[in-house]
Amino acid sequence: MAKLNMVKALNLALLQEMERDEDIVVIGEDVGVDGGVFRVTEDLHRKFGGKRVIDSPLAEAAIVGTSIGMALYGLKPVCEIQFSGFSFQGFHQIENHAARYRMRSQGRFHCQMVVRMPYGGGVRALEHHSESEEQFYAHIPGLKMVIPSGPRNARALLVSAIRDPDPVVFFEAKGLYHAAREDVPDEIETLPIGRAHVVREGADLTVISYGAMLRVAREAAETLAAENGVECEVIDVLTLSPLDRETLVASVRKTGRAVIVHEAPRSFGPGAEIATSIMEGAFLSLEAPIRRVTAGDVPFVGFARERANVPDVARVLAAARDTLAY
């Protein structure tokens, strides 16, 4: 057991899985000799050498595309895109090939691969360096879309993603990389992909979030308990796709109310799918319209206005109180 931040926890997952399975390779821009912009692949090159930890040219389509080829042959590539905002240079490879190979070949070929990328705000940079665009990936059939919320579940989910027989897009919140340290067990842990996690139980209101916004949701829940005597149930989605509708619906059947918090822009975002799923499964239990607290429908503006764009505790509280008063 060691106290690790998310960077170190992810690094541990890669290290242990690579020790266990020689077919796992890591590929990306400056992931090798340099150890990665955010240091997630630090020391892997030293331990496993350039054959397994591959510095690629600055070419996302090639990174993802060659990873797909490797996977078709039987390797298990874990590729890194430096920021999720750059992933669109390789998006067509993910969308056209990785996600479709199983179905296209009627199950004869598949892509066991992970595409890791940092996403979200917190570094005071603009646009591609701060955006949350999980909705693009969550929308693609054949892909899995995972977003951990802390060191321990990040480590466990990355191991699961590497072992998953289908392609997984794995988002890592930049704001969480160094935010907190958690006890992470030495022995390898996994967490089931496709399963949400109830992180706080309560009977009055369900607050649903993931990634860096989970902390905001939890803080709002604690404030509501302290100031209003309201007990929130807080759900960490963890896997956006396939979405664990069962857990979400069961919670709202109990509470009758839901607030969804995400950093992605509002329209056609994950909140829309989550809200509809709840409506379909818990319609008769709903006591109030489901509320969304999200970033604006706007490209992520520069740092001066970042705070106004990304949901914070005050905005979650306002939405929660609205819902409760309905």
Binding site: E29, L58, R124, L126
Partner: protein, 334 residues
């Protein structure tokens, strides 16, 4: 002495202009680095220090109505094209009087008044845009050109090759300037390109292509001037590889840059400082006197101090601006 003056083949005014512009960009960025350390600038800040001769030399042979477009290391290109340093600094600070209302920042400077079509953070992605601008110029019968700056890292991307081919195929008035500072973040050219002589890629696509000492502002000027003439008169694009070096880290978050290059290498390259080299040459040729250089220095320092004061005094953009400029606000249904 007369002989030396002739060897430089420029007059005192031009010498003053070239030196002054390089010094202005250098000072601007030194001050920006200070502001970054103080937390006044957020996100990422990529300094052009060491590479000033490329942007200044190239822009010096353009007309004001010509265009320039760049990647994210864009302060130098934007200032060289004529942007107001005060508004550029305010943009870096994220203030409302910035070139982009403080909503963009260092990587995405735009200035329509000087035909600067912006910095672009996606490596390689702005090259096809430059081809498109050149297409439009030609389509409308104009005789302007566009200069497109990009790093060696862009050459790894498919879009570089797509744009080279297309510009040659369609005969577009674009000048491709690759600022080869030998590294894309921590990856050297040799570790990323199977064929590391970048200018040769142009030959593959049938473009006039050459390499130039990017630390020599006059050499850059000469090479770009030929390319501009070809583009303007014959609609022939060119690829120029400028051999240059960034003295600082990739960004302010990589200040030492020590992992992928040695201190000795950095120190050796600093001996090629384009500003020092050019200053010494014009002094030696007696185009300018020491006193002229000191006066230039003072003028540059004053202008940049003024830019910082201006940026400091400008307020942050109001919260309501968060959602503006996404669509044309008063657009009727078409």
């Amino acid at each position: 002495m007369a002989q030396k003056k002739q060897a430089l083949n420029i007059d005192a005014d031009l010498a003053r202009r070239l030196l002054g512009e390089m010094m202005l960009i250098r000072r601007f960025e030194e001050k920006a680095a200070e502001a970054y350390a103080l937390g006044k600038i957020g996100g990422f800040l990529h300094l052009y220090i060491g590479e000033e001769a490329v942007g200044v030399g190239a822009t010096s042979v353009l007309r004001p109505d010509d265009y320039a477009i760049s990647a994210y290391r864009d302060h130098g290109h934007c200032l060289a094209k004529g942007a107001d340093p005060r508004r550029a600094m305010a943009e870096l600070f994220g203030r409302r009087d910035g070139l982009c209302k403080g909503k963009g920042g260092s990587m995405h400077l735009f200035d329509k008044t000087v035909n600067f079509l912006g910095g672009h953070a996606i490596v390689g992605a702005h090259l096809p845009l430059a081809a498109g601008v050149a297409f439009a110029i030609k389509y409308q019968g104009g005789d302007q050109v566009i200069v497109c700056y990009f790093g060696d890292g862009a050459v790894h991307q498919g879009e570089f090759h797509e744009a080279m081919n297309l510009s040659a195929l369609w005969k577009l008035p674009v000048i491709w300037i690759c600022e080869n500072n030998r590294y894309a973040m921590g990856t050297s050219v040799e570790r990323a390109l199977a064929q590391p002589e970048i200018w040769r890629f142009g030959l593959t696509y049938g473009l006039p292509s050459e390499r130039v000492d990017g630390m020599d502002v006059l050499a850059v000027r000469e090479v770009v001037s030929r390319a501009v003439e070809r583009a303007r008169r014959e609609k022939v694009p060119s690829l120029i590889e400028a051999d240059t070096y960034r003295f600082r880290g990739h960004s302010m978050r990589d200040p030492a840059g020590a992992i992928y290059r040695t201190k000795e290498e950095v120190e050796r390259e600093k001996q090629r400082d384009p500003i020092v080299l050019f200053r010494d040459r014009v002094l030696e040729a007696e185009l300018l006197a020491e006193a002229d250089v000191r006066a230039l220095e003072k003028d540059v320092n004053d202008r940049i101090d003024d830019a910082v004061t201006f940026a400091d005094a400008s307020p942050e953009p109001p919260v309501e601006w968060l959602l503006t400029d996404v669509y044309k606000e008063d657009a009727e249904g078409v």
